[in-house]
Amino acid sequence: MKLKGWKDVNPGAVCTEAGSALKFKTGSWRAYRPKWVEENCIQCLFCWAYCPDMAVFVKDGKMTGFNYDYCKGCGICALECPGKKGNKAIVMEEEGK
């Protein structure tokens, strides 16, 4: 990205574009990747509630997958996932394997 010169910076360094952090992808930080196993999902939405990175897609009140552009791979979702009959609906897999 081309860096702005001093004539183009906002007065007082005020950020005027709300939510512009979306342009900064944090997915590359990830060492482990959460995998959604849909058949074990009871749609409790704990993964969505407890995700520190707002990286769980939800549509009409249902979890639909992960946003790997931002997911940092912490694994909270997998740990908190109650799954179904002892089978987790989210499992962590090593990246690049």
Binding site: N10, G12, A13, V14, A18
Partner: protein
């Protein structure tokens, strides 16, 4: 119609603030500025202003509250002195770096230790590099006039920087003088409606104030700030021109007194300039071409203009009511010397430190200095470049 009154400097500043009628003020008491806010809060309590107060638990919080209020999107003012300004120090930079047009009366007082509540310029000089505009005032009239003009300068869309108006503690803040108040409507029209820039309270357009800026951008913001500083002089002069229309009083970047044909001159800030002018008159009566320059806009410092005003003198004494420890010379001297740097045949300079902690500056001091300048003008030689005057051995 202007109204002639007999008031103290603090009373005059408080009255100017009443006429400007800011949206919010956050303040904390400190001698000798306290009186301004006491008077102002009585206007608040009696419904004479629309201002909402934040009566903070420290000066740090007072300036923090001013910053929050200014970023929120309205007109903001406060007042302080000395230790209070020192406690605000961190926040002064944040106010200017965030480009928030807060106006603050600084009733100049010495810094501790040792503890002293009286007037000198250590506080204002300590804050000279914090990115604020500084207007200095000789008397109650100037403090009043500068306060009104400060809002217009600070809030100017090309500027958007905080401004402090300096007046000498006790000597001006607590002494009654004859002066003129401008009509309320004239003041109101002069400062105009506050125009918000990126207000936090505009929830339809959410903005973030105070980001972390790393090595890739910090210098660009500093350069932009420096550039804005370079535009201040023009805005100050434009405001002065408009102000003359409502007041009949002329203001510039600095005042010169009998300086045009002067051979020797004094450079001095604030109240002591009045005493000096009297002594200059008596030297003129003796046929000695003495004059005076009193800076008004001290930050940004008008180097070029002041250099040109002083370059033809033979000898100049800069009188500092503060010392810059370890910096060899007083802070005003350093700037005057820098303004004369481009002029190879400029005057011989000397520096006297006077009036610290409210020590009286008497006509005798000015006489002493002017007599020394007469000798220097003849010989071109200075015995001691920097010296404390009015101090016991």
């Amino acid at each position: 119609m202007a109204k002639v009154v007999a008031v103290t400097g603090n009373e005059a500043v408080a009255y100017a603030l009443k006429q400007v009628n800011p949206d919010v003020s956050a303040a904390y008491p400190i001698t000798p500025a306290t009186d301004i806010m006491q008077r102002f809060t009585s206007y608040v309590s009696n419904g004479q202003v629309k201002t909402e107060m934040v009566l903070a638990e420290s000066e740090h919080s007072a300036m923090s509250g001013c910053i929050g209020a200014s970023a929120a999107g309205g007109r903001v003012m406060t007042a302080t002195s000395s230790q209070g300004m020192a406690l605000m120090w961190e926040e002064l930079f944040i106010a200017s770096g965030s480009r928030l047009p807060i106006v603050m009366a600084l009733v100049n007082r010495a810094l501790s230790a040792p503890l002293n509540i009286h007037g000198d310029h250590s506080d204002g000089m300590g804050a000279r590099d914090c990115g604020w505009i500084q207007l200095w005032s000789e008397n109650a009239q100037e403090a009043y006039d500068n306060t009104i003009q400060a809002f217009r300068i600070a809030e100017h869309m090309d500027i958007r920087l905080p401004a402090m108006v300096c007046l000498d503690g006790f000597i001006i803040s607590h002494s009654i003088e004859r002066m003129e108040y401008i009509d309320d409507d004239a003041v109101k029209n002069f400062v105009g409606e506050f125009k918000a820039l990126n207000p936090l309270l505009d929830i339809e357009h959410p903005v973030s104030y105070g980001p972390l800026i790393l090595t890739d951008y910090y210098m660009e913001y500093r350069k932009a700030h420096a550039e804005v500083m370079s535009k201040v002089s023009k805005v100050v002069l434009d405001a002065a021109k408009e102000f003359e229309k409502i007041s009949g009083r002329k203001y510039g970047l600095f005042e010169t007194y009998r300086l045009d044909d002067a051979e020797i001159g004094l450079v001095i800030l604030n109240s002591a300039a009045g005493t000096s002018k009297d002594v200059i008159d008596s030297f003129r009566e003796k046929g000695i071409k003495a004059g005076l320059l009193k800076p008004r806009l001290f930050r940004p410092f008008p180097y070029e203009e002041i250099g040109n005003a002083l370059k033809n003198l033979k000898a100049v004494c800069v009188l500092d009511r503060a010392d810059a420890f370890g910096g060899s010379y007083g802070p005003l001297f350093i700037d005057i010397a820098a303004s004369l740097y481009p002029h190879k045949n400029g005057p011989v300079l000397m520096n006297k430190i006077y009036g610290l902690g409210g020590r009286d500056y008497l006509p005798g001091h000015a006489e002493l200095v002017l007599n020394e300048l007469v000798d220097i003008a003849k010989t071109g030689k200075v015995k001691m470049i920097k010296e404390y005057i009015g101090v016991r051995e």
